[in-house]
Amino acid sequence: MSAVVGVRAEGDEPGVRETLRHGLRMSPEMSRGIVVTLLLATVATGGRIVVPFAVQQTIDRGLTAPQGPDLSAVSGLLALAAVLLLVTASCSYVVNLRLFRASEGGLATLRIGAFRHVHDLSVLTQNSERRGSMVSRVTSDVDTISTFVQSGGLLLVLSTLQLTVATALMLVYSPLLTAVVWACFLPVLSVARPMQRAVSGAYQQVRERVGDMLSAVSESVVGASTIRAYAVEARTGRRIDATVKAHRDAAVGAQVRVALAFSTGVLVSGLVTVVVVVVGTWWGVRGHLTLGELLAFLFLVQLFTGPVQIGTEVLNELQNAVAGWRRVLAVVDTPADVADPGEAGEVLPRGPIAVRFEHVSYAYPGGPTVLHDVDLRIEPRSRVAVVGETGSGKTTLAKLLTRLMDPSTGRVVVDGVDLRRVRFSSLRERIVMVPQDGFLFDDTVLGNVRFARSGATREEVELAFTELGLADWVDGLPRGLDTHVGQRGESLSAGERQLVALARAYLADPDLLVLDEATSAVDPATEVRIQRALDGLSRGRTAISIAHRLSTAEAADEVVVVDGGHVVQRGPHRRLVAEGGVYGRLHASWVAQQTRA
């Protein structure tokens, strides 16, 4: 499946402003009370000019007072400055707190919204390679925004304010020196963008190398037994070392660029001081500036150069945050390809279920057609087996039936209603599929079975296993139903995982049960036992099994044979055997396998 399902392609990316606007709309908490926060932030920033101003006043009115240094001339002023510092510090505290509350609240909303939406995207069930990237949409991408808003974003706002305030004050002291300072910094601003581009390019490299490295490292863990069995430790080690080194080199490369980019600002700051000293002295001697004003100006230059230095780094963070935000929003904006009609949809009453496929075709987006014009009728209470070779389209049939995907053309009709018009809550209650890889959560056996119905009692779960003929197996577990299955059920065997998945679906008690190779890793005796239990207990239920073990087909009311995306044969097992054709061939090899001992 090469074509990526859904999710807007990169390229036609929305701009920074559009992203921010859209992002704030998605997280209303973030902009709530923003005006008050900004006003307080302005006051807090005002605190930064207190010291330079106090320095100037002290020098001019205190230290270099006409009748010699005099403390009393400035003592009131210094006390006032101290009070102002305390007030502005309190403002800073309030600003920080408001900012953290607003941004964390907004981002939690975004995170949760995106999580919920991802579950509606078919990317998740059709393209396992992209699941990891979906996880980072709701984790690291949101974290990037949060980091930026709380450190970089605030810094950016405060820096801009500080730059403005510093410039205004510098203008008061000396318009000429202010012009000189700006003249020195304009060239820096013009190279900031290319530098920033170089830095983010380097980070992009690092990200890719990290991906390679993680993938190589994971082989040493996930593939441990294969590595051991073939004694390829040395080769695997070399492969890992190569990716570790590539990552290290890329990271160091990025670090060098960052260091150089950052130092440009530091260097210019230093040189600006020199220029101000030279020009200021010359200008002051001509009577345009007092000594105090020049020295205060030098403090203001510090106040001015700080924000410019931060600029390079913060703008880079901003770019990362916007990119992260854009990625999250792109997911949220991707229309659910298989959408829940919700309130407008129909609720189907419980009871025996009938299914009809009407001229159903399916092609993966940008891929070949895998199902051609299928017409099929599944009667209520019937047991149907779908058989065919790997890649014949069996699983596609099951996914259409359970509405994990929608047909490209034609429709699937349940009890006379187009599946697309059935409310999800009703659909999932009536139709349940057990996939081949019965995923288990890191919980106990009990917890996993209860996943189907959180209200189920322990007794009901026990009963499910008993009715499936699996009570013995549960008793044999070290802690029975309370045995932990480990991450993804790692501590059970593949066959045992399937048993738990079956009990889970059984507890859900659907009207139509779809089994997609659900017992492929189970021993024959257990499989037959389960099959019989399901048959006996599901008389009121419709059941569709997809299996390459044809025992299921032999027991079914009807067999549907799929070949190359077409339904080529259908009917009861015996008639199809007599017919020969594809089924005859499949059955012959099945029989050969069973009886050649």
Binding site: P69, V138, S263, V277, S493
Partner: protein, 629 residues
């Protein structure tokens, strides 16, 4: 002049689990343990670290130097000029030259420190990632199976990163110490009384920093843990999407995620509250100090005890030092995280229990003679319980023969196959090939003679060829003849030839671009191409169509008897290939014999292998009854 503390490394898109896992050592954090980690790091990257510290020291000296230079220029050039109303061009040029020199050296210091500190962080990361993964490759599978996959991945990634991140701010902090010393001297030289204010303010800033970090680190750790939890919930939920969707559990999964997300939000706000309290305080203290310097300085100047320039210089030093002093705080803040990270990394590095190897070799060629004598094996499950998997198992497989292992789901068959190729060692008893105890063989010797195709195949992120040869050049000679031969035998030549790049096609991570049946056949070819003397197949054709499976089995039978074959099987056709059948029940070998013998005397065996036939017969009978009725 704020400077970001971290050589921020962007984290990867999703694959990295930030999970820090359960800590193997729960000893409380102590400064001693933190300092130990610093020692470890410095020992492994001494030169770059020294360079970073030198850069930082230069930066520190020059920062203080810039205040000193400005003071000197004020005293000797600016003030006289203002007083006399006349500028001496030569003096001003000298002053400007001095200031420029200081500025340039300062930048050299910054660049040197940043680059060298970055190299230290990434070098240490690389060194320890290599060591951790080398351990993964060395440690026995029993160790692997007792550690969750997610934890091992984060040990190699997030934990290594957390351990050495402290080296980003460390050189800066050391530079700050240098800077403080220089500044103290400069202040003392300018005016001892003003210096006294500095000697009060800077320790105060430092002390507040320490308190801040103490308050901060548990909150940050908690936020980190919750972030990992959010990531785990998302991972698990998206991995299980098919189950979530087909059972219609999206809403309850969203609730589960919401709980985690809100906990994280609250924890982050707590972190913010702490930071929001301390940041303004730490910023205000040096500012208040400056005001104190101005007041005291003016008073002292009034009494002729200090010059204007002295006061200006000390005040300027304060404004310069206020920010860098925080670097000390960054280091103290990172240390607990480092110590925790290190304890996890160290747990892997110190893990022992390597499979013991001897120096014996297997001289023979042709099919191997396999014997298993009184073997016990138990594994540890997710609850930490010891679960016996095999009990007193004995087997003797003659060279060139084929043995089928039959048993119910969970009876211990897969564990047995793992013992045969020495993926694990028995707790008791011996496994021998050609009479030689596997534990006495030298490393790599077992792999040369045997091949296992497991139930769940693993493919490397490599080409089809790479997955089959695993880098053995001998197998690619002669236009890949042997590779194609193996693929033919595994019934995989057809689909491989049809791939866009044939043998050079990349299969993706864990073979994601191939179907389950295709992956199994490539794994089979990987085993067959080596012409193993002992071939072990653990239900290795479960995802393959019956027809294809028939063809594979026929091929194996015709390929001759240079191999001894042990095959886990349910199907009679597979069993039919076997000279002998081993019947396993609850981890014990209950019987060995031909299929006919076992069918005759073991009802449990009949129950499994005849299940389908019996089922069909029962059904036919009941249909017959219905017809009669």
């Amino acid at each position: 002049m704020p400077e970001s503390s971290a050589t921020a490394e962007p984290t990867d898109g999703g694959r990295s689990r930030t999970d820090l896992g359960p800590s193997p050592s729960s000893e409380p954090y102590t400064l001693r343990r933190g300092l130990f980690v610093l020692g470890q790091g410095i020992r492994h990257a001494p030169r770059m670290f020294t360079l970073a510290v030198a850069g930082s020291a230069l930066y520190g000296v020059m920062t203080a130097g810039s205040a000193w230079a400005l003071g000197r220029v004020t005293k000797e050039v600016i003030t006289p000029s203002f007083r006399s109303g006349h500028v001496d061009g030569g003096d001003l040029a000298k002053g400007a030259g001095l200031l420029t020199l200081v500025a340039v050296l300062l930048v050299v210091g910054v660049v040197g420190r940043r680059v060298a500190a970055g190299v230290v962080v990434y070098d240490l990361g690389a060194i320890f990632r290599r060591r951790v993964t080398a351990q993964y490759l060395r440690l026995p599978l029993a160790w692997h199976s007792s550690h969750p996959t997610g934890q091992l991945l984060s040990n190699a990634n997030a934990d290594v990163e957390a351990t050495f991140q402290v080296f980003a701010p460390l050189p800066m902090a050391i530079g700050v110490v240098v800077m403080l010393v220089v500044a103290a001297v400069a202040m003392l030289l300018a005016d001892p009384v003003l210096a006294l204010i500095g000697l009060c303010v800077f320790p105060a800033v430092f002390a507040i920093n320490v308190v801040f970090q103490r308050r901060m680190s548990p909150r940050v750790t908690r936020a980190q843990r919750l972030r990992a939890e959010v990531s785990d919930v998302a991972h698990e939920s998206f991995d299980g999407a098919l189950v979530v969707k087909s059972l219609g559990r999206e809403a309850s999964e969203t609730q589960r995620f919401t709980r985690s997300a809100y906990e994280l939000r609250d924890a982050n706000v707590e972190v913010g509250r702490t930071r929001g309290t301390f940041d303004p305080v730490i910023e205000a203290i040096p500012n208040l100090g400056t005001l104190a310097v101005l007041a005291v300085g003016t008073s002292r100047a009034a009494h002729g005890q200090a010059s204007v320039a002295d006061v200006v210089q000390v005040a300027y030093l304060f404004s310069l030092l206020a920010f860098p002093v925080r670097a000390l705080g960054w280091v103290l803040g990172e240390l607990p995280r480092s110590a925790v990270g290190w304890s996890r990394v160290a747990a892997v590095l110190q893990a022992t229990g390597q499979l013991p190897f001897g120096d014996a070799t297997l001289g023979g060629t042709g099919a191997a003679h396999l014997s298993v004598e009184n073997v016990d094996y138990a594994h540890v499950d997710a609850d930490g319980d010891l679960v016996p998997a095999l009990v007193d198992v004995s087997l003797d497989v003659r060279p060139g023969s084929t043995v089928a292992v039959v048993g119910a789901t969970g009876s211990g068959k897969s564990t047995l196959t793992a013992l045969l190729v020495r993926l694990v060692d028995p707790d008791r008893g011996t496994v021998r090939i050609d009479g030689v105890d596997l534990t006495t063989l030298r490393a790599g010797e077992v792999a040369l003679a045997t091949a296992l195709v497991p139930q769940q195949t693993f493919l490397f992120d490599d080409s089809v060829r790479g997955n089959i040869t695993l880098g053995d050049p001998a197998l690619t000679d002669d236009d890949d003849r042997r590779v194609w031969e193996a693929l033919r035998l595994a019934q995989a030549d057809g689909f491989v030839a049809a791939l866009a790049h044939g043998l050079d096609t990349q299969v993706g991570e864990r073979g994601a671009t191939l179907s389950g049946g295709q992956r199994q056949r490539v794994a089979l070819a990987r085993a067959l191409v080596r012409r193993p003397r002992l071939l072990v197949l653990d239900d290795a054709t479960s995802a393959v169509d019956p027809q294809v499976e028939q063809a594979i089995l026929a091929g194996l039978r015709d390929a001759g008897s240079d191999s001894t074959v042990v095959v886990v099987a349910y199907r009679k056709a597979t069993i039919a290939l076997a000279d002998q059948v081993v019947f396993v029940e609850d981890g014990r070998v209950v019987d060995v014999g031909t299929h006919a013998e076992l069918t005759g005397r073991r009802p449990g065996y009949r129950h499994i292998v005849d299940a389908y036939e019996r089922d069909a017969a029962l059904r036919a009978a009941s249909e017959g009854e219905e017809v009669l009725r």
